[in-house]
Symmetry: C2
Subunit: 250 residues, 2 copies
Amino acid sequence: MYQQIADEIRGQIVAGDLEPGAKLPTEAEMRSAYDVSRETVRKALNLLVNEGLVVSARPQGHFVRRREPMIFRPQTEFRKRPHSPEMDAFATEHSAEGREPRQVIEVAIVEPPAEVAKRLQLKAGDLVAIRKRVRYLDGEPFNINDSYFPLDIVRDSEIMRPEDITRGANEVLAELGYRQVRALDELYVRMPQPEEVKRLELPPGTPVGYHITTGFTAEGRPVRVATTVLPGDRHVISYERGLETPGEEA
Amino acid sequence: MYQQIADEIRGQIVAGDLEPGAKLPTEAEMRSAYDVSRETVRKALNLLVNEGLVVSARPQGHFVRRREPMIFRPQTEFRKRPHSPEMDAFATEHSAEGREPRQVIEVAIVEPPAEVAKRLQLKAGDLVAIRKRVRYLDGEPFNINDSYFPLDIVRDSEIMRPEDITRGANEVLAELGYRQVRALDELYVRMPQPEEVKRLELPPGTPVGYHITTGFTAEGRPVRVATTVLPGDRHVISYERGLETPGEEA
DNA sequence: TTGCCCGCATTGACTGGACAATGGCGTCAG
DNA sequence: CTGACGCCATTGTCCAGTCAATGCGGGCAA
């Protein structure tokens, strides 16, 4: 029965009868409209909230959720910065859309999590340098980006300083003799962990993409692992590929 | 308070104290353990269900959710089939992992949805051929893959027949004179629509990746749009890239 | 031994009620 | 006119209880 209520409202949302930002009837109104108890109405609303269609703003009511994703291009991070050299890759990508970027950088030396150690082919006890970044757009948290480097190759380099690296960390790695020529990308789709919910201020019903890039040198050594947590409501992941002709084999 | 209960159980799950498949305490047990009402316990469980950590099997109880993703490689769909030619790209990719693939194909001529028409650069009223596929693995639905082709270039071709195309629809397109040399991939992360929940038998708390590929010929004409709905609990999206050196510009 | 049926534990759905928290808005005082 | 205060509509949290649905497993009959 609460499913039916949810279905009806969901229908109005997808049909456009209720536009993004529109206010839904209050619980009391729906209660009398459908002649059910308040808890039943709330269950219907809870469904829609968990589907990411509705947000609740106490005590204003429930509203149809707005959605304005930005474009995330993993490839762009490796292109030459076309414009203002004082902006890093992130700023360049998004400032064009008229929003103000900002990022908070933290640097540390840690034992890497297992999934990172595996991809960097480290032995137990090996340490890594980690650059943790939370990126903001117009003051709102946008994504979390953590880059891991084997400690022995970045020790004392610019990468250890908690400041923007204008020309990109990848260029610094190249200057150190570890130019990346190949990357393996993996993407998981899942619900966020509570810590991610807090750091990214995610409303309920917001899944995230968890993107892991491993960068390799020409010799095949992995020298960088970057993980990005991408809130689904703020991102489109986009990339371009050339296609192999079916005659050749990789 | 129900948050605290959820936190505690979540902690046990991520710490590994509760292994995948393990049975949680019953609602009654938790009710007396925490000395709260049943509704409060259920609210905590509902949180975990929507986070994708727990599934409920009535009337057996609640269980820690299992997760065994398969690897999805958009690039592989363009490689020459290395092994058994009677399997299409999908079967080849997954049969190696010892599971039995199957797919149901449907072909139709329709007016394309707006997001497809836009990518195929069609005029209003232009029709497309659509190949709708639901793919199964070991009898379980795995993903939904719909491919759209401009009707004028595939009319009367093999693509209109609702059967497996062993050598791949892309090869057929190439034989028709429309070899694709470039593709644009977009990926959205969102919660599934009710229809997708039904077709893919998605448990609550399962987000999906919505993958749209547009294939272009050397002349720059889009000749194929493929959309794939990828349940987050069954997929890892994976691809490899060569990296441009920062000296050159794309 | 085999097969059927029913009980029972467990979760799902719904009700009615109570109190708390929040933020806007109107009112009132300075 | 301005600022502070308090009302109030609305959602959040929690409780106690009732009945329904489900599937396993034990008991009973053939």
